[in-house]
Symmetry: C2
Subunit: 428 residues, 2 copies
């Protein structure tokens, strides 16, 4: 493949002429010194045809026709599991390198597809599958290649970050901020993939694969929804010098095959770079034994930034860069979500004497220190929210105490427990 | 070169067994599956020898002896212009790839050395020459390869950032903070390279070369010292919701061969990621037409982070990655420093009636709007500092007004004028 490139421009076929596909097509045409866009696949290809695409480009609705164009690189931008995965396998089977932005396929089938590509002497690249235009995959595989990485963490879902920053700045409710995100096209009609965490979990699984050489099923990563976060949580978080963000984090402790990973809302110190990530931006921090913490931030979505990642992958292949070493990936079946952390617990109660004593007794019984109890004035006794912050304790102890707390009879709303990120940069 | 690697491990010789050299040697030995450290050059090599280096490694004081070890990669870590440059040329002449952390050599001779390496079919890599362990060179060359970049900016000198953050947090004077940095080993006995800007200017020249394909002499980049910044400037900056940082920035406007670049203290909004960079950390932001702003942060100095960059470059070569396309680089002889920006001007005067009227007249005569005049109470009239903030005006107009202002007779200290960074991320 790579030797071919020195004789001719890299021939690229692209499937999926949506927002990212159009931006990628434009960038591919701008890179015409090195690459040649030869085919575009889309449903109703005839209707999609646009005049700014070179007339020599073949428009088709058939993957076989696209792959028959003597491609060097197949760019998959149709999304979803099938037929995208089948098309990627077809390309690899023919020895055609693949560039994809498809996080679901890489999170679930990345190692098997990488092995297939290596066996056929072609490449599979997927920079755009995590954090859009931010080149964090390449940084981990290449720029930090000599380090021993211990943690990846960050804000990987721009929709959640948009919603939470609107709640923080405007005091909007979760429902109102979600509706606004949907109206602006940031959130899907069915936003569960974003707000409940599976989208970030798939991206986290990819980062864990690249950083730690581990394959973890995305579904095994515990995900908690941001839907239970309220404007009041920002008020209390600010009193603790924190804000609330959806955080994805994964770490290894040196035990082969062990992975700790979780996605969900967390308190982040206001001094942390994570607290500064606003709107739909992404930020990934990578921690290594030698290099310490390195951070990568930018636009995590959108046609143009994602297309930059896609076409930069194509250019790497066109320029003959070899793929980084791929695997073997160690399969982990059980993923722990047990990060030790201090905790923020918000309770909403019908107030009466003895509530603080009852909850203090629960935490004392589990040997957990209470760091602070904060109760803002101005709420009716019949529905009074307050928060308790807990010192760091073993995660299983915190879980047991919270389970016991939930059984008490004074809750009007189930308690909301959020970890508080600590450490030099507000990471865990 | 690259074909050799598949037959044998990549043979590496290293010159300079100082802090970075020791860390790099350790990482090279840890990567022994792919690379083989075969030789170390250092003055008084016999005395430097340590028992954790494999006994098979040749210790030498002679570059000819080192290069005679049938190297695939020569790692240059001795620093300075000569003999380092001569050694790098000797290696390239033999077709041996080179990895260096030497910013002076790359800033001054990068394009000529890259051309020599390309002609000999070997590589020259220099990730560690800018921002230590932060893989920003690779990100620009590879991860953002398909974008059209318009600006690079950031905090590139950890010593200055350490000094300024100490002044901000402890109210230390510049001299006290500098002495502290020297005592901790962050600053040289002669700190002019850091505080006056040449160090950051050399790194900025390298970033401009990689991002814009431009070769600019580092000495042509206007550098202003941070030595005139006082604790009082942080007080006034905070009143403007800003802090003070040494900022290096370079941009192109589309005119071939034109470059605007400068290094010096600037006001940075507290909401900017640049304001959050503390101690000796670095942060680089890269702006592209398609990808928007992407940021890269982490440890900009220190043996271990710098060694991660060096050894990751070695691994890229060992894994057969081809170098990115190199040049031709467009030579720019004149570098403009004229960024349009609002300005902060601090004046120190023996107070008397009419001073505000006089300076207001100067700015009015140049058609520059005054945004604010701030004068903190508590200073004696004989030596009263205050600040004027100016709206954005053409840079040459601001320069003329400031030159005229400096001629007025009431200054006890020359006025200090700092640009105020604006825009979404506090960049220009």
């Amino acid at each position: 493949m790579t030797d071919v490139v020195s004789r001719r421009r890299c021939r690229v076929g692209l499937a999926g002429f949506g927002t990212v596909g159009r931006s990628a097509s434009r960038l591919l045409q701008e890179a015409s010194r090195e690459v040649e866009l030869v085919g575009i696949l889309n449903r109703q290809a005839a209707a999609r045809r646009v005049d700014w695409i070179d007339p020599s480009v073949t428009w088709t609705e058939s993957i076989d026709e696209l792959l028959a164009l003597d491609l060097d690189v197949f760019v998959e931008l149709i999304g979803g599991r099938q037929p995208a995965e089948q098309w990627i396998r077809s390309a690899i089977d023919r020895g055609v390198s693949v560039v994809t932005a498809n996080k679901q396929i890489i999170a679930h089938e990345g190692p098997s597809l990488l092995a297939a590509a290596a066996a056929r002497g072609c490449q599979l690249r997927f920079e755009a599958s995590v954090a859009g235009g931010v080149p964090v995959i390449r940084a981990i595989e290449s720029g930090l290649a000599s380090d021993s990485l211990t943690q990846v963490a960050g804000i990987l879902n721009g929709t959640c970050n948009y919603i939470l920053t609107r709640m923080e700045r405007e005091g909007a409710t979760f429902d109102a901020a979600l509706k606004e995100a949907q109206a602006l096209g940031f959130a899907e009609a069915n936003p569960a993939q974003d707000i409940d965490g599976p989208d970030a979990a798939a991206k986290l699984a990819i980062l864990a694969m690249v950083a730690f050489g581990i394959q973890a099923p995305p579904a095994a990563i515990e995900s908690r929804s941001i839907a239970n976060v309220t404007p009041l949580d920002f008020l209390y978080a600010h009193k603790l010098q924190c804000t609330v963000r959806q955080i994805a984090r994964a770490s290894v402790n040196g035990t082969p095959g062990s992975l700790t990973a979780a996605v969900g809302p967390a308190l982040v110190p206001l001094t942390s770079p994570l607290a500064r990530v606003s709107g739909s931006e992404n930020l990934v921090t990578v921690t290594g034994r030698s290099g310490g913490e390195t951070s990568f931030g930018g636009r995590g979505a959108g046609g143009d930034p994602t297309a930059v990642a896609v076409v930069s992958d194509v250019l790497s292949i066109a320029r003959g860069a070899r793929p980084p070493s791929t695997g073997p990936y160690r399969q982990v079946s059980a993923v722990s979500s047990a990060f030790a952390a201090p905790y923020y617990v918000r309770l909403t109660v019908a107030d009466r004497p003895g509530i603080i004593a009852a909850l203090a007794a629960v935490f004392a019984a589990h040997d957990i220190n209470i760091d602070a109890i904060l109760q803002e004035p101005g709420f009716e006794a019949e529905r009074r929210p307050f928060i308790v912050s807990l010192d760091t304790a073993p995660p299983e102890v915190v879980a047991a105490a919270l389970a016991e707390l939930a059984t008490l009879d004074f809750h009007l709303v189930p308690p909301l427990a959020l970890p508080i990120l600590t450490g030099a940069h507000g990471n865990m």
